[in-house]
C-alpha cells in the first residue's frame, strides 16, 4: 500500500520503533518545531494549554505538506494516479488509526472532531432509536459537546436527560447517584477524562454498570486518548468519540468508533455525495456501514496527518507518557498549593490524573492571571472550558488551567512556578 508516512518520523522508521524505547523528552521536543519559538516580547514559549490542543510533531506537518505538494487530489472519485494515491493514503490512515484504537477500519467514521462525533450519535443513532420516555444519562463533568446535543434531542424527541453529580470534595463522579440514574436508561454518555479536573473516570466500571441495565454507552475520549491507549474492542463501549488535534494530529478531524450492531441501527446524519448508492429525482439510497456517514470530500490531508500522529505516538509506551505527565503535574500542583491565595480544583497528584491543573487565585481574576502568565511566555487557558455545569457545581464562573503533555519538562514547570510566585507577590 502507498504509504506517505514512511521514514517521516524524525529519521526513525515506524517498523524500527519499539515499545521499549525509553522516554527521551529532549528528543521528543526536537520533533516539535514550535516549542523552540519565542513570543513577540522575547520570552521563550512554555506551552501549558495541551488540554485545548496539543502541538504537532514535524512528521505530521510534513505528511500533510507532502500530500499537498505531491499527490493532492480528491479521494474515492477518479482513477488517475493522484486520486489513487490520495485514496490509498486516506484509507491507509483509517487502517492505522483504527488499529491504534484496537478495532477494525469499518468501525471508524471520520468526523470533524469529538463534537461532530457525539452529534453523529445524537442524530444518527439516538433520533432513530429513542423517543418520549427514553432516558439519556450524562454527568456534571461533561463538556458542552456532550450536553447540548442531548438537550436538543430532549426538546425534539421528549427524551429525559439525567445528570450524575460530582462529589466536590473528591472531584469524582458520585457512583451511587449513577446507579440510581441508570434505572431505565437507554444511553449513558460519560467523559473519559475531565478537561477541567483532569480526573479519569472509572469508565470500565461505568460501561459494565450501564450495559447491565441494557443501555448503550458513549465515551467522550477527547481528553483520554492523548493520555492512555484506548482499545475500543476491549473496552466494550458502543461509541467512542475522539479528536485528533489533542493527540498530536491536525485540527478538523476526529472520529466516532462504533460497534457493528450499533452502527446497523444508525440512519444517515449529513447527506450528499459519497454516502449514496443511487440518486434519482424521486429518492436516494445510501451506502452501507461507515460510508453512509461520510459525505462530501473527505478530510484527506487531515486524515493523513492524523495517521502520521498515531505512527509517531506508536513509538512510545503510553504508560510511560502518562507517568511523565503525571510527575510534572504532581510536582507543579504541590508547588502551587504552597503559593498564598492559590486554590486548585481537582487532584492532579492522583496517579490516574491526566495532567490538567485548574486553579484560581483569591484576588487576581482569572483573565488577569492568564494575561500576566502569558507575559512570562506561559500559555494557559482561562474561562469556563466549555463545561459550565461543572463550573456551577464548583461554584466558580471560570478557572485558569495549566495542562501538560509529553514534551513538557520539569524545568518548564519550575519556571512556571517562579513566574506565578512573582505575579502573586507583585499583583495580589
Amino acid at each position: 500500500m502507498y504509504s506517505p508516512h514512511a521514514a517521516l518520523i524524525g529519521g526513525r522508521s515506524f517498523d524500527q520503533c519499539g515499545d521499549d524505547l525509553p522516554l527521551d523528552i529532549e528528543a521528543i521536543r526536537a520533533d516539535f518545531p514550535i516549542l523552540s519559538r519565542r513570543l513577540p516580547n522575547g520570552k521563550q514559549l512554555v506551552y501549558f494549554d495541551n488540554a485545548a490542543t496539543s502541538q504537532k510533531p514535524k512528521c505530521v506537518i510534513d505528511a500533510m505538506s507532502r500530500y499537498y505538494e505531491e499527490y493532492n487530489s480528491n479521494a474515492h472519485r477518479a482513477i488517475h494516479t493522484l486520486a489513487d494515491e490520495a485514496t490509498a493514503a486516506l484509507e491507509g490512515a483509517r487502517d492505522m488509526i483504527s488499529s491504534y484504537f484496537g478495532t477494525s477500519s469499518d468501525q471508524l467514521i471520520y468526523t470533524s472532531g469529538a463534537t461532530e462525533a457525539i452529534n453523529l450519535v445524537a442524530y444518527g443513532w439516538a433520533r432513530e432509536k429513542l423517543g418520549k420516555g427514553d432516558v439519556v444519562v450524562l454527568t456534571e463533568m461533561e463538556h458542552h459537546a456532550d450536553i447540548v446535543p442531548w438537550q436538543q434531542l430532549s426538546i425534539d424527541k421528549g427524551v429525559e436527560v439525567r445528570f450524575v453529580p460530582i462529589d466536590t470534595e473528591s472531584f469524582t463522579l458520585d457512583m451511587d447517584a449513577l446507579e440510581v440514574a441508570l434505572d431505565g436508561a437507554s444511553l449513558v454518555c460519560v467523559v473519559h477524562t475531565s478537561n477541567v479536573l483532569g480526573v479519569r473516570n472509572p469508565i470500565e466500571k461505568i460501561i459494565e454498570m450501564s450495559q447491565s441495565v441494557g443501555a448503550r454507552v458513549l465515551i467522550d475520549c477527547a481528553q483520554g486518548a492523548p493520555h492512555e491507549r484506548i482499545d475500543f474492542d476491549s473496552l466494550g463501549a458502543d461509541f467512542i468519540a475522539i479528536s485528533a488535534h489533542k493527540m498530536a494530529g491536525p485540527t478538523g478531524i476526529g472520529c466516532i468508533l462504533v460497534k457493528k450492531d450499533a452502527m446497523a441501527e444508525m440512519g444517515p446524519f449529513m447527506t450528499g455525495g459519497s454516502m449514496i448508492k443511487r440518486v434519482t429525482m424521486e429518492k436516494s439510497t445510501f451506502q452501507d456501514g461507515n460510508a453512509m456517514f461520510e459525505t462530501g470530500t473527505p478530510r484527506i490531508a487531515e486524515a493523513i496527518g492524523w495517521g502520521a500522529a498515531v505512527e509517531w505516538l506508536n513509538q512510545f509506551d503510553m504508560g510511560e507518557i502518562h507517568d511523565h505527565i503525571n510527575d510534572v503535574a504532581s510536582w507543579t500542583a504541590a508547588q502551587m498549593r504552597e503559593i498564598p491565595g492559590i486554590k486548585i480544583y481537582g487532584e492532579p497528584e492522583r496517579e490516574d490524573s491526566s495532567g490538567a491543573i485548574s486553579f484560581l487565585h483569591e484576588s487576581i481574576q482569572s483573565l488577569d492571571l492568564a494575561l500576566l502568565l502569558d507575559e512570562g511566555g506561559f500559555a494557559v487557558r482561562t474561562g469556563h472550558h466549555c463545561a459550565q455545569p461543572l463550573m456551577d457545581a464548583l461554584g466558580v464562573p471560570s478557572t485558569n488551567r495549566a495542562s501538560f503533555w509529553v514534551y513538557n519538562t520539569m524545568g518548564e514547570a519550575e519556571a512556571f512556578i517562579d513566574h506565578l510566585r512573582y505575579i502573586v507577590e507583585r499583583f495580589s
Binding site: S366, L367, D368, L371, E375, R426, F427
Partner: protein
C-alpha cells in the same frame, strides 16, 4: 483633539505615562492602579444583562448618560482588573465631553498607550467591543 489622533488633550499625561512604562508588566501594574481609581465605577449590583458588553473574556458592563451640565457620563465595571483599568482610562477620556464628540472618537489612545501591543487581537476585541458600545450609546444621547 490633535491632528492624527482622536483622544482629548486631557488624556495626554495618561497616554504618556503608559507609553513610558519599562515593560508590559509595568504597564499591567499601572492598568491595575487605574482600575482601583476608576472615577465612575459601576458597582456589581448594577451589572445587568442589558448593560453587559459581549465579546469580553471577562464580565464587563457600561451605563452611559449625560450629567447635570449635559456632558457625557460613562459608568462602567468589570471583574478583570485589566478590563476595569481600560474602562477607567476610557471614562477619564470621555466624561464631561459633548456626547457628539464621544460618538466621533476613536480607540487610538489605547494604541498610543501601548495597550494594543499587550493585548492580542481577540483580547483587544473585548476592549473594542466596549469602546464601540460607548460610542453607540453616545450617539443615542446626541
Amino acid at each position: 483633539m490633535g491632528i492624527g489622533r482622536s483622544w482629548p488633550e486631557h488624556l495626554d499625561p495618561i497616554v504618556e505615562e503608559f507609553s513610558e512604562c519599562f515593560d508590559s508588566m509595568e504597564r499591567y501594574e499601572l492598568l491595575f492602579e487605574f482600575a482601583k481609581r476608576h472615577p465612575t465605577p459601576l458597582p456589581p449590583d448594577e451589572w445587568e444583562d442589558e448593560n453587559q458588553v459581549h465579546g469580553c473574556q471577562s464580565r464587563a458592563h457600561v451605563v452611559c448618560s449625560v450629567d447635570d451640565t449635559g456632558g457625557f457620563l460613562l459608568r462602567c465595571g468589570a471583574d478583570a482588573q485589566v478590563v476595569q483599568g481600560l474602562m477607567a482610562v476610557t471614562a477619564i477620556a470621555v466624561n464631561g465631553m459633548d456626547p457628539s464628540a464621544v460618538a466621533q472618537m476613536g480607540p487610538d489612545y489605547a494604541d498610543a498607550m501601548g495597550i494594543k501591543t499587550s493585548l492580542t487581537p481577540s483580547r483587544a476585541n473585548g476592549f473594542l467591543n466596549m469602546f464601540r458600545r460607548v460610542r453607540e450609546e453616545a450617539g443615542k444621547l446626541v
